[in-house]
Each structure stands twice: as C-alpha cells, then as structure tokens.
Symmetry: none
Subunit: 205 residues, 4 copies
DNA sequence: TATGAATGAGAATTCATTCAT
DNA sequence: AATGAATGAATTCTCATTCAT
C-alpha cells in the first residue's frame, strides 16, 4: 500500500489481499466479493478503478512492491551474502504460510490472464525506486561485490536469476510435507545459502 | 496425448493446447472456443468430459506427461549428466517458443484455480510409470550414480529440486531479449550444465 | 398396454410407467432415461414415436385404458352398486400404493402441458370401446338401473361425476396419515358406498 | 399478491399469473418469458428470487392464498351452508374462465414437479392465518355447526374433503361443452348445494 | 431394423458495469 | 462522493432429435 492511495483504494487493496491470502482464486474473484469485504459500495470502487482487473492487479502490484521494499530494508541488518539469502528465504517462508502468497504472486505475474497483463503494464510504468523481485536480487548481489571483484552484466544477470530460481525452489520444497520440520528447513536453507555463495565466488572471481 | 483417448478427446486436448500455445488465458477459455477450434459440436465435448475444467486440466495433464516422456526417452541417447541436462534445456527451449508452455504449465499447476485443483487430482490418480517434472529429474540423477557414490534421500531431493530450479531459471532467462542470440544461449546452457555437474559431484561425494 | 403394440412400444410404455410409479416428474423425464430403462436405443424409440410427448402421453393413455378395463371386467363379479363402488375404491387403493398413480394421471390429464394436450388428442381419436374414468362410472350406473327406474341424461351425468368426485375424495383421504389404519379405510369406504347408493336411489326414483 | 412484496416481486408474480391464465404450461415457462412479460431485466429477477421455481411457486402460492382469502371474506355475506357452497362454486367458475386456474393450481400442487415441491415447502412455512383450500372448507363447515349438533373430527374431515371433491367435480363438469349454458350450470350448482347440505345434516345429526 | 454418437438450439444463471438517487 | 438496484451480454450445460453405420 502506498502513501498516495486514498482510503477507499487502500480498502480495496486490503480486501483483495485478504481474499488472496484466504486462498481465493484471483481469476474468479468478483467485484461484489471485493467491495463487500472492503466495506464499500460496488459503484464506489468504479470511482477509483476503471475495472476489476485494475483492482486486483493494483492490489497485487502495490502489495508486492511493499513486500519487496520491506525485505530490502530488512536486509541492511545482514552482514554477508549468506545471511542475506537466508533472510530472504525466511521472509519468503513467513509469507508462504499465508496461502503461498509469493509463489502464487509470481505465478500470476507469469500467466496470460488479464491480471498479469495489467501488472506488466504497471511494472513498465512504475517509478524507478520500486523494485521487483529479480531487480532486488540483482541489487543484493551488486552490493556484495568487493572492489577487487568484477562481474560482467551477463554474469550478474545469470547469478540473480539463479538466485531467484533457488528461492523459488525453496518455496516449492517447503510446501512438501517432508519439510514441515523446522530443522529440515534450516538445513535446506543452509545448503541453498552455501550454494549461492559458492556460485557467486566462482563467477565473480 | 495418450493412446487410450478417443479421437474426440484428442481433438479437445489438441484444441486446448493450440489455444494455450497461442497465448490464451486458460482461465478465461470458453467451451465454445475449445469445441470451435476442435471442430466438433459443443454438446459432443460433454459426451467425453464432465465439465470444462476436465477438458482443460486433462489437456494440460496428458500433454505434460507426454512431453516428459518424450524427454525421458530422448535422454537415453545422452551419455553423461552434462549432456543430459543440456538435452533437457534444449527440449525446454523448443517448447518455450510455443508460448512458454512448460513454464506456464508449472505455474498453472501451482495456482489456486479450478484447473490446477483438477490437475492435482489427476496427478494423484495417475499410474506409476507416468512421471512429473521433478520425478523425472530425480530419476536422471539416480541413473547417474556410480557404484562407488552414495546419496541420501534428502540430498537427492535437494539436487533434483535444485536442478529443476536451474531449468526454470534457464526458461526465464531465454525469455529476455538479451538471450535472443543462439550463442549466448549456448554459453548459458554450458554454465548451467557445469553448475549442475559440480553440485552433483560435491553432494554425491 | 394393447395387443396391437409392438414389443418396443410396450417396452417404452412399461419404462415410462415404472419411472412414473417411482415418483418421477413426467415433465422433466428425458428420452435417455426412458430408453435406458426400456433397454432400447434412443434412435429406436423414434422409429415408433414421433416425439417424446407421444411416448409419455401414450404410456399414460394406454395404461389408463388398461386399468379402467381391468376394473370394469372385475366389476362383473359384483352383484350390486354398493359392492361395485367398493370394488372400484379398493382397486384404486391398490394403485395408490404405486405413487398415487390414478390421482396423478387425472391431474396430468387436466393440466396444460404438452403431455396432457397429447392425451386429450388421443382421447378424441380413441376407438369406441375404450373407456375413460367417468365413462366407466356412467356405465356402472346405467347397468344398475332397474326396468322401473328412469334417469335423465343430466341426472346420469351428475351422478357419475358425483361418484367420480367421491372416488377422488377417497383417493385423497387415504393419502392422509389418519387413514393408514385398515379399519378406518374400510369404514370410510362403507360411508362412501352408502352415500353413493342413497344418492342413486333418490335421483333415479 | 401480498403487501410485503417489493414492486419487482409483484411484477414477477403478476407476469407468471398472466402467462398462467393465458394457458401457458408452467413447467415449460422460461425466465426470459417471465421477465419479458414483467418488463424487467432477466438479472433483476435473480435479485429477488433464488431461482425460477421460486418465482413460479411463489406466484401461485401468494395468488392462491389471496384468492382463498377473498372467497372466505366474501362468504361472510352468505347466511347458510347452501348459499355459501353456491358462492364458492360461483367464485370458482369465475376463476375457471381464466384458463381453469383453480383446477390447474390444485393439479400443480399435487404433481411431482419442482414447482409443487417448492409450494409444499412454502405451505409448511406459511403463517397461521393463511388458509389453503381444504382448511377453508373445514372452517365453513365448523362455522355451520349449531349448538345442538356434534361432529367427530373424522366426520368433519370426511365432510370437508367430500365438499372439496364436489367443488372439483363442478370445476370439471363446467369445462364440458354441455355446461356452457348458464341455466344448466345453475341447476348443477343447486344439485351440489343440496347434496352437500343433506350430507352435512345426516352426518352432524 | 436398431443404434448411439454427434449436434446445436435453447435454458438458467452470473456478474461487470452503469446511473439515478 | 457514495451507493446499490437494474441490466443483459456472455457462459455453461442439457437434451430432443437426427443420421451414418
């Protein structure tokens, strides 16, 4: 949720996210459900949004941005790449308990629905500072580069997407019942963090 | 497409896949569109499927299975892990040109729509031999184990999911305009194959 | 069921009556249900009937005629009006256990559905000897007239319709839980038979 | 039509009754026909009714109640049983000109269609004062009992159903072309009224 | 003659969107 | 500005009927 949004817009965004977190299928969400949950009139929503897709895509977009920003801000406390990656994985895990939100968000952004089309439009129009997942990861990696290390643009891109894929991978694995156990998860995170660090060292060498 | 399917079922599956490959949003596909494309009457579809979801989920499911099987069969020609991974990446790349099908398939399987729910049901009911992505990758890795190597179940799972995430990663990267160039892609595949082999060696050691 | 009907026609009639007796709503019966029950192909039914309505109306019509004829034939054993009316009431009661068939039949004949329209057409085209409820009752009353009694056509019509209404009345009452008891029913029949006889005596005097 | 109904509900009820009176078969009435006649949008009907059956059953139910109430109120002007029965017969006759409404209403209530099922549900939920046909007739008979007369519950039930059957009987007979003549009908009513009175005297004696 | 696969017209119902209040 | 009643286009699904085998 961003500062420039009116209370009604926020209410709509909030309502969409709640329904999303409760497991609703976004493509079959109705305006009545959204406005009902938001506690405002159906007509009112159309004073602020041109159509249903804008409500949903907007909610996901600003929520995603806000989540990314929170993570990025939280990262400043972490000293090294290993801990940073671990922090991101933990943040993801917390979100996951809310009906797999991040994973679902990523899915939605890469399907061909009206919602994802709108989100891509929003992404293109977004102001510079707002960051989307892969961009954030790229930034983490850039921040990590010591003076004596060099990394080509391709290398950086590869590393950030590889990191992204590992995070996704973690998200997928912890949905499995074999990873309900806290310690198992911790071990998995350790593996992933190490893997990322090693790859970073090798490529940035 | 499987052998036991009647021509009409195949026509429906074929139609769904064509529309999917043309970029249609599966959750807003209509029965009229599907049967129109399949060249059969609307009512006919309901002789073979109980509802729309079954048509779409069925199409994706059997198509996915068939794609996986093709890859697995093709793998037998490849001698080592490096070449096998390369083969999988290439197979994926070919599919990708058809509207990122595999990626989208994975996405659909993990969202909360009716279609994905149906696919998960189908997955549970599937016969043993049919393999889904991660299972296939696990098999590839198992096949690779030499007599003198040991690998815990956890290690195997991690490796297969890691491999899966790398493949996903490749899929995402080649959507980027910077990887339109064939040589760039080849180089990327080389990196990935090497990374996979190295990780395999380390963990199975 | 009439002698001139082919086995397939009989099978259809039989199927409709079974479904009817099982409580099915005739206006929502489907051809598939009927032919499925009859054990013949859907197309076959159309070799013998021009449409669905003909199947249902025909079944009801010939079944009704056959029921009426059975009663009329059974009546010959009864010596006087009192016993004859009692016989009709008992026959009705037996039928009633089969999902109120006679009552429902009468209802169907007097609503405005396609089925009843068809039955009325059939009634007009029927051959002389076939008798419908009120006609049968009229005949019973005529048979009862002694040589020294006279009865105008109006009187006869009134008496037969009055008798009909009393039979209907019996049919309705025994659906009530207060008349589950056999003795209660017997008493009720006695009342009705007496009432009919008295009215007959008065008017035919 | 009841006071508590919104204008749209009334419009639906009105439309259903008009179509009914014009002879339409209720079980093949469509929502499009009803809303078209009511002059409202198809979707609007669903704001007030959960489905088509509720529209039709509701229309019949509230119309029936209102008709019964009108008759019962009109009865207060009549001094004796004979005149009261005559009044009911005349009221019925008037309704009959509108496509046999009362008879058809009774038929519908006793078939196995969705509509009748819904009406029976409504009947169970109805408030006390609202009366259905047989209840009204029972009330007429109760009102008629003098202080010196006694009548068992069974007797009362028999009499009211007998009266009901005679009314039905009148309804059936006047559909016949032989009773198109006004005088014939008057004579028939006289007969029926006398019959009812006589039976009442005998049983209540 | 018997069949049932194929069909498409038609029905109920939903829901995004508008607009009078 | 806020509302929600009204709307009808659009969608799913059913089923009587046909016709090639």
């Amino acid at each position: 949720m961003n500062r420039e949004h009116s209370p009604k817009e926020k209410a709509i965004y909030q309502a969409v996210m709640e329904l999303f977190e409760e497991g609703a299928d976004l493509s079959s969400l109705t305006v009545a459900e959204i406005t009902g949950r938001a506690g405002i009139g159906k007509g009112t929503a159309y004073e602020y949004f041109s159509d249903k897709e804008e409500m949903i895509a907007g909610a996901l977009f600003y929520n995603g941005i806000s989540f990314i920003r929170q993570i990025y801000e939280g990262l400043s406390k972490e000293k090294n790449l290993n801990d940073k990656v671990n922090f991101v994985l933990l943040a993801m895990e917390q979100q996951m308990t809310k009906a797999n939100c991040i994973l679902r968000l990523i899915h939605i952004m890469s399907d061909n629905s009206m919602i994802s089309q709108r989100m891509r439009v929003m992404e293109k129009e977004r102001v510079e500072e707002e960051m989307f997942p892969v961009d954030m990861l790229k930034q983490i990696l850039k921040d990590e580069l010591k003076d004596d290390q060099t990394l080509s643009e391709e290398g950086l891109t590869y590393l950030s997407v590889s990191l992204f894929s590992k995070i996704l991978c973690y998200g997928m694995m912890i949905r499995d019942e074999r990873f309900l156990d806290k310690e198992k998860r911790e071990e998995l995170r350790k593996w992933i963090c190490q893997g990322v660090c090693k790859e970073f060292e090798e490529i940035s060498a």
